[in-house]
């Protein structure tokens, strides 16, 4: 089956709902595992990488949750297909750059994605909408338990699961959530939040993980330590901290509206103005302005318009998704034009934001 027939549409993607999804867009749990008897992928020579792939891929495909899964070698995917997978957070940028011997197995509902021969032999993730870290961990835990019946994982009583990088050693777990925090950014409190979250041994990163910028006021919070604590405790700590960040974000929004309503309305009004009238716009500017539009919707400034519209545009305006809607090969400049065309068209039915938040608070 072709990848683009397998994946749900951006519209359907945007309609996925979860708890606290006003602020938390998604929850993710990733486990790193390696085979006991083969060198780790980065160091392994090609024959060993292929051997690992030959053993892992059928084992993963045979699990019941992988019925009707999408399974493919990375070198058989086009660069556009890989770009789309990265934009959907289904593979890492590192995996997209890999050659023969690396692969992807993606469950029918797109919840579980398994990268084969990334930095470790196995990088498996469960991804759910909204804030549901416990459930995400439960799904991943179950998947891992079933897979370990079929594959001999490298495990040491003292050090736990052995990983290529010592930073993942032990549980091999990375628990993370993606948060939309425009209030804290406008309020200039984000620096403080990052510092205090860091102090708790948690990391704050941009939209596409390690080393990326926080486009669209979207931040990823995740654990850094993987050894010496059990998975449940790591999940609980993250959930607690994220709960507090949500509270801070809500407070920041309320405070901004009370103390600097004009600043907030100005930002949102200008974002609307540019997005619905521009004829050329970059992906970065689009994300930052769509974030403000989303904030406007959360604050009830766009009655009758659902947040789904913005979430869909967030995906549709990214380079890969934009290219996918065109038959020509688009240059960066072409993309900026097409992006603006699409935004004008899709926002044509959206009336300009209200002059003040509606009585009785946000919709």
């Amino acid at each position: 089956m072709k990848l683009f027939e397998f994946l749900v549409s951006p519209a359907e993607c945007a309609r996925r709902r979860g708890p606290e999804d006003r602020i938390v867009t998604s929850s993710r749990v990733r486990l790193a595992r390696n085979l006991k008897d083969l060198p780790f992928p980065v160091w392994a020579k090609k024959p060993d990488r292929l051997r690992a792939m030959e053993r892992i891929r059928p084992a993963v495909e045979s699990l019941p949750v992988m019925k009707d899964a999408y399974s493919e070698s990375i070198d058989r995917l086009s660069s556009l297909e890989k770009q789309i997978l990265v934009e959907r957070h289904l593979i890492s940028r590192e995996q997209a750059a890999k050659g023969p011997g690396s692969g992807l197995v993606l469950s029918r509902d797109e919840t579980i994605s398994v990268m084969i021969n990334e930095e470790d032999h196995l990088r498996m993730q469960a991804l759910l909408p909204g804030l549901q870290l416990k459930e995400t961990w439960r799904i991943m835990d179950q998947f891992d338990t079933r897979l370990e019946e079929k594959l001999p994982f490298a495990f040491d009583r003292k050090l736990g699961y052995l990983t290529a990088c010592p930073t993942n050693l032990g549980t091999g777990i990375r628990v993370s959530a993606m948060l939309h925090l425009p209030g804290l950014v406008l309020n200039e409190n984000m620096g403080q939040i990052i510092q205090s979250v860091n102090k708790l041994g948690l990391a704050v990163r941009g939209l596409y993980g390690e080393g990326t910028e926080a486009f669209g006021n979207i931040f990823q919070i995740s654990n850094q330590r993987t050894l010496g604590e059990d998975e449940n405790r790591i999940v609980q700590r993250l959930e607690k901290v994220i709960g507090q960040v949500i509270e801070h974000e809500e407070n920041a929004r309320a405070t901004l509206l009370e103390r600097k309503p004009k600043v907030v309305l100005n930002h949102i009004g200008r974002a609307y103005g540019i997005l619905s009238n521009a004829h050329s716009i970059s992906s970065k500017e689009t994300m930052n302005l769509l974030s403000l539009l989303r904030l406007g919707m959360d604050l009830g400034l766009f009655p009758g318009i659902e947040r789904v519209l913005v979430d869909e545009l967030f995906l549709l305006t990214q380079p890969g998704h934009l290219q996918l809607q065109s038959t020509d090969n688009l240059s960066a400049e072409d993309r900026d034009l097409r992006r603006a065309d699409m935004l004008r068209e899709r926002l044509a039915g959206v009336k300009r934001p209200l002059d003040r938040p509606r009585e009785g608070g946000p919709a």
């Binding site: 006991k36 060198p39 980065v42 736990g160 860091n198 330590r225 993987t226 010496g228």
Partner: protein
């Protein structure tokens, strides 16, 4: 400016690394820099970038007495230093001496406390002994009709079982 290591020669190699809010600066003479393996920036970069400043040094010290090579995959200390990653599962044994300090600095503890694959799971010998003892005491308590003591022992056995189950990554069924 004098070299911050030998404090004798002029510092000509200047290194700045920013980690979070803290800026670390090293000013060294060429000789000391070479000794620390910092003369080739590509050599230096990754282990320190991935594992934190000083990681490369710690590794080098652990390797004093010659190049250690992993019997499992042929990976060497300097491969690790360059990439910040290990070559295979056995590398953890091979390079453990140099790793322990690093692990301590980057993790909550250096003893795994999480999930255990079923294949590796077995009750610890200590727990088995303790369980035997408690069971014996329980029998004796029942024999002498000391039910208060028996109830207490029964609870202890249950708690022990639950702890073991949790340690082995199973569900707590106390």
């Amino acid at each position: 400016m004098l070299c911050c290591i030998c404090k004798e020669k002029k510092a000509t190699v200047h290194l700045t690394q920013i980690v979070g809010d803290s800026v670390q600066k090293l000013d060294m003479c060429e000789e000391c820099a070479r000794e620390k393996g910092l003369d080739d920036p590509t050599e230096f970069a990754l282990a320190d970038q991935v594992l934190g400043l000083g990681a490369a040094q710690a590794l080098e010290q652990a390797a004093s007495g010659g190049e250690v090579k992993c019997p499992g995959c042929g990976y060497t200390q300097s491969d690790f230093k360059k990439s910040g990653r290990l070559g295979c599962a056995r590398c953890y044994e091979t390079f453990y001496a140099g790793l322990e300090g690093l692990l301590r600095s980057m993790h909550a503890d250096i003893r795994h406390a999480g999930k255990t694959p079923r294949s590796a799971a077995a009750p610890s010998p200590a727990a088995t002994d303790q369980h035997k003892q408690l069971a014996q005491q329980l029998e004796q308590a029942i024999a002498r009709e000391d039910y208060e003591k028996a109830a207490q022992l029964r609870d202890e056995i249950r708690a022990l079982k639950a702890r073991e189950a949790a340690r082995l990554g199973g569900k707590e069924t106390a």
